[in-house]
């Protein structure tokens, strides 16, 4: 019983992180109508940048991350402004191809700069800490990453619903042409959005790298989990993405408990079954 609860909790905490992976995908799809195939590789890039910042400064990963965030924002802003804006809004395929190319370039760049060796971020004592309410032991690090993930998803949801920024985001997503008529500079706006997406990627990357070793080719797998969370939850719903991530994460942890190689497999199976039953996703609108 106790073990079942622990497994379940671990799954939920892993899933919250997957939902944070998915947040950026969900936003770029929702606001700019584009799919970023390089999303997973950008997560890995964020992990390497944080790792490099730790090495260069000797700070703990959390402080090093603070240095990485503005760098990632600028990277995202410029990538959107100078590269992605050229293809966005024309068709779904052009951004798909372009970001696929970026994905390949990134993987090779990372391999060139950091070699193909596996790396990890060391959390120090934090990795060993645990709490055990009612006899159930929970790692502090997974708990922290889950709390940060949920907090970021919640903040994003609040921003979209209640601020001028969020209203502009929904307006430009509804109708970019009319959005320009009410003074939304869509290209600059998209650049800011992608900058913020990159910030969320950097945070997700650091949390991921604290739990799991990573290598330059780890991107596509991250992309897959992100996608599964977003699609399973239903496009355009941030809480849906959280639910989707939690389901995938729980299935993976359960699978890994059954047999160590079965984790991702069970995640995919659950994803496929859920899609067969509810193709629009858990929180998606039937027509959309």
């Amino acid at each position: 019983m106790q073990m079942a609860v622990e497994t379940l909790l671990n799954g939920v905490m892993l899933g919250a992180l997957y939902a944070l992976f998915g947040l950026g995908l969900s936003l770029s799809l929702g606001i700019m109508r584009m799919i970023n195939i390089a999303h997973g590789d950008l997560i890995v890039l964020g992990a390497y940048l944080t790792s490099a910042a730790v090495e260069a400064t000797g700070f703990s990963p959390f402080f090093a991350l603070l240095l990485v965030l503005p760098v990632m924002f600028c990277l995202g802003w410029s990538m959107q402004m100078f590269l992605l804006n050229r293809v966005v809004g024309r068709s779904l395929f052009a951004p798909l191809l372009l970001t696929f190319g970026i994905s390949i370039v990134l993987q090779n760049l990372l391999q060139e700069m950091f070699t193909a060796d596996t790396r990890s971020l060391r959390a120090g004592e934090l990795a060993l800490l645990g709490v055990s309410p009612a006899g159930i032991s929970i790692g502090v690090l997974p708990l922290l990453s889950a709390v940060v993930s949920v907090a970021l998803l919640g903040t994003t949801h609040w921003l979209i619903e209640n601020t001028h920024f969020g209203r502009q985001a929904r307006a430009v997503s509804d109708d970019p042409e009319t959005a320009r008529l009410v003074g939304i500079r869509d290209r600059q706006f998209f650049a800011t959005v992608t900058g913020l997406i990159f910030v969320s990627i950097a945070i997700a990357a650091a949390l991921y790298a604290l739990r799991t070793p990573f290598s330059p080719t780890a991107g596509p797998e991250r992309l897959l989990y992100s996608f599964e969370s977003v699609v399973l939850g239903g496009l355009g719903s941030i809480w849906g993405t959280l639910a989707g991530g939690v389901i995938i994460g729980t299935a993976q942890v359960l699978g890994a408990k059954l047999s160590s190689g079965l984790g991702p497999f069970l995640g995919h199976v659950v994803f496929l079954i859920a899609l067969l039953v509810r193709p629009q996703g858990l929180f998606g609108r039937a027509s959309a």
Binding site: H164, R167, Q168, R170, A171, S173, D174, D175, E177, T178, A179, R180, L181, V182, G183, I184, R185
Partner: protein
């Protein structure tokens, strides 16, 4: 003074406007009539920057402002109420208005002022914009443009598809806009209505201005002939 000088515009291979000249004085109401495909919408879209045109083709107070972005035109006081209303479906009525209020210029039009003129909107503010009737949506669309505090309000087919009663309400709002000293350009299919509410008119046909004059002395038969081109 908003003046269009020798404006030609095209979509790809198709030329939609052929050296059009048009003037709108401050606070003036100008009607722009013509059949479908005459180029009226293209003309309005060229003025606000949705269709790229040479800088000198559009002058605002003497300054060449053609070909600038929609945002720049908005901040210099030119706003468009697009054909078909085009409210943002994911935004409530209030949010539709807020976006424009925040991005536009400061000026006499505020949310309170707008609701004074259009009290019916007060009870609809939190509704999704798509749940409103066509006439109510049109009031929101005009209100949205007004809140950016334009000096020149360009209205594309504001009465299209509305009931006669709704059309009266919409024109009532445009009357108060005129009284505030805002110039209005009215693109209309309904020639009588357009002539009755404007001081001057232009009639377009196949991308050219074929007739213009004072609305009060317009000969309805001549305008109709120019309108249909027969």
């Amino acid at each position: 003074m908003l003046s269009i000088e020798n404006l030609s515009a095209q979509y790809g291979m198709f030329q939609a406007l052929f050296s059009v000249n048009l003037e709108v004085g401050p606070g003036e109401v100008v009607a722009l009539v013509g059949a479908n495909g005459a180029g009226k919408s293209t003309l309005l879209r060229s003025i606000v920057g949705s269709v790229k045109v040479p800088a000198v083709a559009v002058r605002l107070g003497g300054k060449a402002v053609g070909g600038r972005s929609e945002t720049e035109q908005l901040l210099d006081g030119i706003a468009l109420v697009p054909e078909g209303r085009r409210l943002f479906a994911s935004l409530s009525v209030e949010e539709n208005l807020l976006v424009s209020l925040r991005n536009g210029r400061p000026g006499p039009w505020t949310m309170v002022r707008l609701l004074d003129h259009v009290p019916v909107l007060a009870g609809l503010m939190s509704r999704p914009s798509t749940s409103l009737s066509g006439g109510q949506q049109q009031l929101v669309a005009i209100g949205r443009a007004l809140l950016s505090n334009p000096s020149y309000l360009l209205c594309d087919e504001v009465s299209l598809g509305l009931s006669p009663m709704a059309v009266d309400v919409v024109y009532g709002l445009l009357d108060s806009v005129k009284r505030e000293g805002t110039a209005v350009v009215l693109v209309e299919q309904n020639v009588r209505r357009a002539l009755a509410s404007s001081s001057r008119y232009y009639c377009m046909q196949k991308g050219r201005v074929v007739l213009e004059g004072k609305s009060s002395s317009a000969d309805y038969a001549r305008v109709s002939t120019a309108y249909f081109g027969v």
